[in-house]
């Protein structure tokens, strides 16, 4: 719970006086709080620097080191102060947290050291205040990244850390992905790189015209036609190597589907496919045109270098992530081109022998002018055309030159921002989940408190100490407050599961509806308060007789909240026609720790001798139940009827 709330608890409890006249049941007694010695000043000595604060200040956060009894371990009786052998500068921030409720992160300290101090004093990093939260996270992230990088580098460096039992496939994949791991992998890496280079160069050289050795017919041919066999052999060799590599990768890939869909494998396929298509295609004149087009795709082999070059990969990724900016640039350019082309076309329309034959023809002029290339193959001749042409070139400078730096900076900003936004979103979810958890923690704390049966006004005793978890005074008082509210309204807090089951039971027209109305039966002022909600004891009667499937889940829930049953008065109505067992556990013993055990409700023979036994599924759950039984026999002799059956899940 938040800090200063502890300050307001006394007032909230006092305000509970307002419920008194409405309460239909007697309110539970207040927990016995040790006589507080009033407020005193504590001295905390951290490595020689003395800090003094009120005890109340530290008590605000009972689940930290300083707020709980854990600080007693550091108490030095001789000097009467609490001594901590820690950094006094950091302690200042910790202590301020108690005072103000906000944890600030020191700017000049190492974030790791700060974290360690927080861990020591029992403060969770989520407590860092909003003002310092972003910076704290950023610095922590930086640190973590740096550490991760170091770790990765270490891991990538070492080869023989492969598990011994790894298959050939795994080893092959690892060799492909990290060529530095073994010599063979490295050799393979360089060989493929070499062949990619060879293939690309061959493609290029193929088209250079080279002179034949013989002068007669002195015509120039591209080398590819001159030495077709040599080039063919080289191509074949490269393609064979690439095919082999691709097949090996396919074999070694841990997830073949994913591998087939990855960009690199597509590039590989596109690189080698034209060769095979060319092989199987007949040497027709018709299709050779198409065949020639296919050869163009051979240039994609150059992209295979991206496996060898980290920079290329990063570039590809950045282009992908910057796509929207590029798209916008393209769009605005297109708009400008269309506008100017139209204008130029109509301006030059009158001239004869003009190049501006149509608007699309004018596109070329506009593009060349706007990018300030100015080839000069298309020139306006009219005055209007020249005027608009100059406007076009001037605006071209703006249109082109402006977005490019914006894109560059945009890309850099968006890249970093995306990283941060995603992380923040993920952390936000976690943060919200934690807040919800903490919130449900307080509600669960109360429900669990009820389970432990401490609500029963027992006379204390050692059992109490055994069963009951040690709760702080604040928790005790808060739970007392919630209990008062329950008594006032004659309803109890439950959790979602029980509630939904109760809803289901109500819809079946069970006796739950009757039980709530019992509260309102005017049986007379005197007995009103005592007879109110007697059915509370019968609350779980309904479900146990249900099908085993729901019993297994339901009974778990109900038995969780079984504890704290009061001794019910004699049941007022005997309309237990559906043989629902009367589950008033008339246990006089105080042990209420039935929490985990699944015990079917025994019918106390005294009260309802004629009610049938619950048809509980027998068997299992022995372990938990037996331990509980053992516990229950610890204390005063219990009235455990011999009809206790252990129902299984």
């Amino acid at each position: 719970m938040a800090a200063g709330v502890a300050t307001w608890l006394p007032f909230a409890r006092a305000a509970a006086v307002g419920w008194l006249p409405l309460a239909q049941q007697p309110l539970p007694p207040a927990p016995g709080v040790k006589a507080s010695r009033g407020d005193e000043v504590l001295v905390v000595n951290v490595s020689g620097r003395r800090f003094e604060t009120w005890k109340n200040t530290l008590d605000r956060y009972p689940d930290t080191l300083l707020g709980s009894s854990e600080k007693e371990f550091f108490y030095d009786a001789d000097s009467g102060e609490y001594f901590f052998d820690r950094d006094p500068d950091m302690f200042r921030h910790v202590l301020n947290f108690y005072r103000t409720g906000r944890l600030h992160c020191p700017r000049q300290e190492c974030i790791q050291a700060f974290d360690e101090e927080l861990a020591f004093y029992g403060l969770v990093p989520e407590l860092v205040g909003d003002c310092c939260l972003e910076e704290y996270r950023d610095r922590k992230k930086e640190n973590a990244e740096r550490l991760a990088e170091d770790e990765e580098a270490e891991q990538a460096g070492d080869g023989p850390t492969l598990p011994a039992g790894s298959s050939l496939r795994q080893r092959l994949w690892r060799a492909f992905e990290n060529p530095h791991t073994s010599t063979a992998a490295l050799v393979f890496y360089y060989v493929t790189g070499f062949f990619i280079a060879v293939s690309v160069i061959a493609n290029v050289v193929e088209t250079i015209p080279c002179r034949g050795p013989t002068r007669q017919p002195p015509r120039e041919q591209p080398c590819g036609d001159r030495f077709p066999l040599a080039f063919f052999c080289m191509d074949t060799a490269c393609v064979l190597i690439f095919t082999g590599e691709y097949l090996l990768r396919l074999f070694a890939a841990p997830s073949r589907c994913r591998f087939l869909r990855s960009v690199m494998s597509l590039i590989d396929v596109v690189a080698i496919l034209p060769y095979y298509i060319g092989l199987f295609m007949p040497k027709n004149e018709d299709v050779s045109g198409a065949f020639v087009t296919l050869r163009v795709f051979r240039v994609f082999r150059i992209f295979k270098f991206s496996r060898h070059s980290q920079g290329l990969r990063i570039l590809g990724y950045t282009l992908k992530s910057c796509a929207s900016e590029l798209g916008f640039l393209l769009f605005s350019l297109t708009m400008a081109i269309i506008i100017f082309a139209t204008v130029m076309f109509y301006a030059e329309k009158g001239t004869n022998k003009t190049n501006f034959t149509s608007i699309p023809a004018a596109f070329w002029y506009t593009i060349v002018t706007m990018t300030t290339l100015g080839y000069g193959d298309m020139v306006p001749s009219t005055i209007a055309g020249k005027i608009f042409g100059s406007i076009c070139s001037l605006s071209g400078v703006l249109v082109i030159a402006l977005p490019v730096p914006v894109i560059v900076s945009n890309f850099s900003r968006i890249y970093h921002q995306n990283q941060r936004a995603d992380k923040r979103r993920a952390q936000q979810k976690v943060r919200l989940a934690r807040i919800r958890l903490a919130k449900s923690g307080t509600t669960n704390a109360f429900l669990q408190y009820k389970q432990n049966g401490s609500l029963e006004d027992s006379g204390g005793g050692e059992e109490q100490a055994l069963c009951v978890r040690n709760r702080s005074a604040f928790e005790q008082q808060h739970h007392h407050l919630l209990h008062c509210l329950e008594k006032t309204t004659c309803h109890e807090f439950t959790d979602e599961l029980t509630f939904s089951e109760a809803l289901g039971a109500v819809s079946l027209g069970s006796r739950t509806s009757r039980s709530t109305s019992v509260c309102s039966q005017p049986v007379g002022a005197g007995s009103l308060l005592s007879s109110c909600c007697p059915r509370r004891a019968k609350r779980r009667a309904i479900r146990l007789a249900n099908s085993t499937a729901s019993v297994s889940r339901g009974s778990m829930q109900e038995l969780d909240t079984l504890a704290g049953l009061r001794r019910s008065p004699a049941p007022q109505s005997r309309s237990s026609l559906n043989a629902k067992p009367h589950d008033s556990l008339d246990l006089t013993c105080d042990s209420r720790d039935f929490v985990a055990a699944i015990i079917s409700i025994p019918t106390p023979p005294a009260n309802t001798p004629d009610e049938s036994q619950p048809s509980s599924p027998g068997g299992g759950g022995g372990g938990g139940a037996s331990s509980t039984l053992r516990n229950s026999s610890l204390g005063t002799p219990c009235l455990l009827p011999e009809t206790v059956k252990i129902s299984s899940l």
Binding site: G4, L20, N56, Q477, T489, S520
Partner: protein
């Protein structure tokens, strides 16, 4: 937004007016000042604080009524004096004073009478604090039934209105209430 800063009257004066000792007043004020450095609590803050104690349900309506019970001068903000005066009544006051304070709480429009509508509002607000997940399941007319019981008990002359005297009388007749009033003695 100006920071309204309110300083309470002197310690001696407050000690004379309430049933707290000086030390207790000091502790109370330190806590109060820490939470509300400006020296006053407004309704929103009050609702938030109260809601933290009842995470299951919605405590805003009840906190609203409570706030107006604390804010005796109806200024819209609770100062430390109001806070401490009410606490003094609730924790250290006589039975009469406590019951009178409770009557004042129920009497929403402060006209000196509690009618069924006011009681309905209060009871509904209390049931709202329980939240959705209760056992037994909250029915629509549970608050109404509760109010009917209350009126049957309190309204002596059956005129549909509970006056202060009727209220005091009925409560003093009821042992449970009398016993429960002693519950919160040692809250401080």
């Amino acid at each position: 937004m100006t920071m309204v800063c309110h300083r309470p009257e002197g310690l001696e004066q407050l000690e004379a007016q309430t049933n707290f000792t000086k030390r207790e007043l000091q502790v109370l004020y330190r806590g109060f000042k820490n939470e509300c450095p400006s020296g006053v609590v407004n309704e929103e803050t009050f609702k938030q604080i109260y809601a933290q104690f009842f995470p299951h349900g919605d405590a805003s309506m009840y906190a609203h009524y409570l706030f107006h019970a604390f804010d005796t001068t109806q200024t819209g903000s609770v100062k430390f004096e109001d806070f401490v005066t009410a606490l003094s009544i609730l924790l250290r006051g006589t039975v009469h004073e406590k019951l009178r304070w409770t009557f004042n709480l129920y009497d929403i429009n402060k006209d000196g009478y509690i009618n069924k509508e006011e009681m309905m509002d209060i009871v509904k607000a209390i049931y709202d604090m329980m939240g959705k997940y209760t056992y037994p399941v909250l029915k629509e007319d549970t608050p109404r039934q509760h109010v009917d019981i209350f009126f049957q008990k309190m309204d002596k002359n059956k005129d549909g209105i509970v006056t202060l005297d009727e209220f005091l009388e009925s409560c003093q007749e009821d042992d449970n209430i009398m016993r429960s009033l002693q519950l919160f003695q040692n809250v401080m």
